[in-house]
Amino acid sequence: MREGLGAKPELRAQLALPADSDDRAVARAIASELASADVERLSRAERRRTAQPGNGSSLMPVAAGDRSFLARLKTSDAEGGESVAAMVDVPTLLAVLRAGSLQQRRAAARRLAERLTDKELAPDDRRSIQEVLEQLRDVEIAYELLAGHQLLNGPTSREAQSARREAIELGERLKRELALYWEGETHEEPLTKMSGDARAQLMLHARDLDDTLLWHVGALIEGSTDPVLKRALLSSVRYASDARLVPSLVSLLEGAESRIVIETARAISRIEDARVWPALLAAYERSVIDVERIALGAALGRVGDGRAADYVRAQLKSQDEHVLTRALEGLRTLGTAEDVPVVLTFVRSSDPVIATKAIHTLGRISDGRGLAELRVARDAPSGSLGAAAEEALQQIGSRLVLRGEEPDDDALPARAEPERKVTATAQPFAVRVRAFRHYAIGRVWQLLGAHGRALRRFEVAVKIRPDWAVPMILAGTIYAARDDYAQALALFRRALELARRSVERNPLVIVHVARCFLRRSEQVERDGRLAIARGLLHEVLTLDLRRVPSSLRFEIGRRHETLRLLGAG
């Protein structure tokens, strides 16, 4: 059977078959004999086998070449050498928190949380940790940052504790609802009826949630035959980083639906688990679709395997906008200092989405050559570009510190500018007093819960002083609370025109504005007006959204991406 019938003319005799038996009879006899012999062999105890060493995660290639401190920095003591887990120096830990790889940033956040519990920590160090933790908006390590926030003083700590408590309570509630759902008591699946941002917020706390809930999520993403639902759920678990999801995610990587594979690659590459890298590598080697292969290559880069760098680099020349944006994203995990000149050319792109992506990529590559260009972008009028550039400059500054290089002070972010007061244009005093009177009465009604009366007062104030943003924002908030997002949107837009920086810098206001844009886009999308929905999301993405909760920012980005893809057919 191994060599073929022709190689053994005496076979018929060995099988006790007549010499003139046809090949069919001989083949049948061989199969039967060999099968019996094989079963017999397998039923016998084997000689003790020679040890064959496991060849798993140890085979993962280690990036050669970069001999810097950051490249050699390990995340745990067990790996030997310099490690984040053993690091004491707070400024270095903070620099790693900004500029390290995902694993290093996670480890630094955990270590900083440990340092916060150290009673001997110097007050200056405690203060600087608090400042950075409160300022940093790194959604990839949001769970670890929230754990750090809980150890701080003041409202941030209370907010973080409350967010975690709420997530756990919601998880418990969902667990009960899930039991009813699977027992057939209710037909509405509780997770899919939640909004995307609420789901993503819950999943940021996945590691605190019960097994049942995670199994359920796994079953939905693995078992659903609806690709839209599958993608929505996958983007909710993008930052969950929970190893319990690995089996379900690996099964999706083996599927053939490209968009699902892309979302899965993003989600799974953020999980620290030995099964992730081999699954990503196998999918990358199988993939032939550019956008999918780039996403898989970038995911490999995130887990420390840079083999896809050349391929992704080459895609920057693509004429296809989707391939180009994916390649720019991919270089965040795969790019090196040599890529900076090419990426810089995209910072000047007329498309703010591409320019913003390029700036984020420069921040992650963190090479000093991008500083001058980023400084220009930081001072540009566009809120989103400026915010992205400021973050990128901070990352590069931290990276340069870790590399022992001297950052160019001019290029690094300036201290936060003092709040620019929204000043009214010259108005007669009486007009201003009249407007303020209506505003004040409106506030009282609002505090008493009489939102209709409050709204009327705010609208009168707006009519009297059309250059005053505050009553517009309050009226917009009331409209938004009534789900009248169209009205709210108009007021928020006017407020943005009048006092953009104030709106962007007020976390209580910008969250309403961002949510309003998102909800309105959902409404018009439901009406089939995809281009308008896409435009709304594009508009909100040009704002400085750093003060918006990461789950909401993420949902806006996700929907924008989805609509862009839909727009491209």
């Binding site: 073929g4 079963v39 798993g56 083996e254």
Partner: protein
């Protein structure tokens, strides 16, 4: 499930009368649904696979049983000539035989042999559309065995297929359980009812394409019998719920020709909150001696050479990380199957997330290198509690 009551005491009395002779259950098939009548707690109950209480199917069956004598014009033949074998079955049998001959002539070292490829194409042409799950899986395993030069596996697959061809040629009434297992035919199933199954593992296996079939493994808690459940990637016709889960099965169809037997859950209720007791039961079912596992594996292969992919629960005495193996108390090693860049033991340890391994559940493989296990899930002790963790 509905309870039969009122008006048909005669039927109940008849059932009770024949129960003494061993009558336990009656099954009827109509309009693609299966109605089952059985006794419980001294009452006659009915089940229908449509899931509707007191449905039309049950009503038809009851009318059939209680409507008295058959119409006068129905002629009952005293003897029936066996129907001739259908042409599709003959074509399939021929295709299997041609494939076996092609393998024997070319030898399996000729992996890209045109004659083998042609015979495989012929087999696919002769197969029903869509290709039944067992047949798709058989082709997937055959291609893998050929690609990796696994002579033993290939021979077993061919031997099993040739046994099936003999049954195919005997006509459509022969070996219904084999025909059902291979060709997804309607006849030939056995019924399973009133049992509790716990799902312990899932995996995606190769069919006509890689990772195109999902297979789930369920254990019946009283008998310890393992069942599988399968679906194609784009098919949602399978029982619902996450893994692990507890299923109270009122009615299921079983294909007994596969190893483990394949179940189709038709009436069931689910619980996704699995207490510790099922895991205690799973641990109690675990084998501690490799020699016993080996005997069971061989017995399954003898019973069903082509459709056996035995599942095992093994409580190792030791995990040998360096050897990528589990070891029993007598020091015999069970090697774990590795993927190209991930050893089985690394995958297993990743799934445990630092908890203590109590027993490993996986699919057994007979390879040229010996007996292997592909770990699919693991029961661990975490803070004094038993928990199941999925590897795949």
């Amino acid at each position: 499930m509905s309870e039969h009551s009122g008006g048909n005491e005669a039927l109940l009395a008849r059932f009770l009368q024949h129960a003494e002779s061993g009558l336990r259950r009656m099954s009827f098939e109509l309009a693609n649904e299966q109605v089952t009548l059985f006794m419980r707690d001294g009452r006659l109950r009915e089940l229908c696979t449509c899931g509707v209480e007191r449905c039309e199917h049950i009503a038809v069956v009851l009318r059939f049983l209680t409507d008295g004598a058959a119409p006068a014009d129905v002629r009952v033949r005293s003897s029936v000539r066996p129907p001739p074998p259908d042409q599709g079955a003959v074509a399939l049998a021929t295709a299997f035989e041609e494939l076996c001959v092609a393998c024997a002539r070319a030898g399996i070292e000729a992996r890209d042999s045109p004659s083998i490829n042609q015979a495989l194409a012929q087999l696919l042409t002769a197969a029903p559309d869509p290709v039944p799950l067992s047949l798709a899986r058989w082709i997937g395993r055959f291609r893998d065995a050929l690609a990796f030069g696994e002579l033993g596996e290939l021979s077993r697959l061919l031997d099993g297929a040739l046994r099936f061809t003999d049954q195919l040629r005997e006509g459509p009434l022969s070996a219904p359980e084999q025909r059902r297992a291979w060709l997804d035919e309607v006849d030939g199933s056995e019924a399973l009812s009133e049992v509790t199954l716990v799902e312990v593992a899932r995996e995606w296996i190769t069919g006509l394409d890689r990772a195109s079939i999902e297979r789930r493994y369920l254990i019946e808690l009283v008998s310890g019998q393992v069942y599988s459940e399968e679906r194609r990637r784009d098919d949602s016709r399978i029982s619902v719920g996450p893994c692990p889960r507890l299923a109270q099965v009122a009615f299921a169809e079983i294909d007994s020709a596969t190893r483990p037997p394949r179940a189709k859950l038709l009436q069931y209720t689910l619980s996704v909150q699995v207490p510790e007791a099922p895991w205690q039961r799973v641990v109690s079912l675990a084998e501690t001696q490799l020699s016993v596992l080996r005997e069971r594996f061989a017995a399954d292969l003898r019973a069903s050479p082509a459709l056996a992919e035995p599942f095992a629960i093994f409580a190792p005495a030791q995990l040998e990380v360096a050897a990528n193996a589990l070891t029993d108390a007598e020091g015999e090693r069970l090697a774990l199957r590795s993927d190209p860049n991930l050893s089985g033991i690394d995958a297993l340890l990743a799934a445990t997330r630092g908890a203590d391994v109590v027993c490993v559940l996986g699919r057994m493989l007979g390879r040229a290198s010996g007996l292997l296990m592909k770990p699919l899930s693991v029961v661990v002790r975490n803070g004094g509690w038993l928990e199941l963790r999925r590897v795949t």
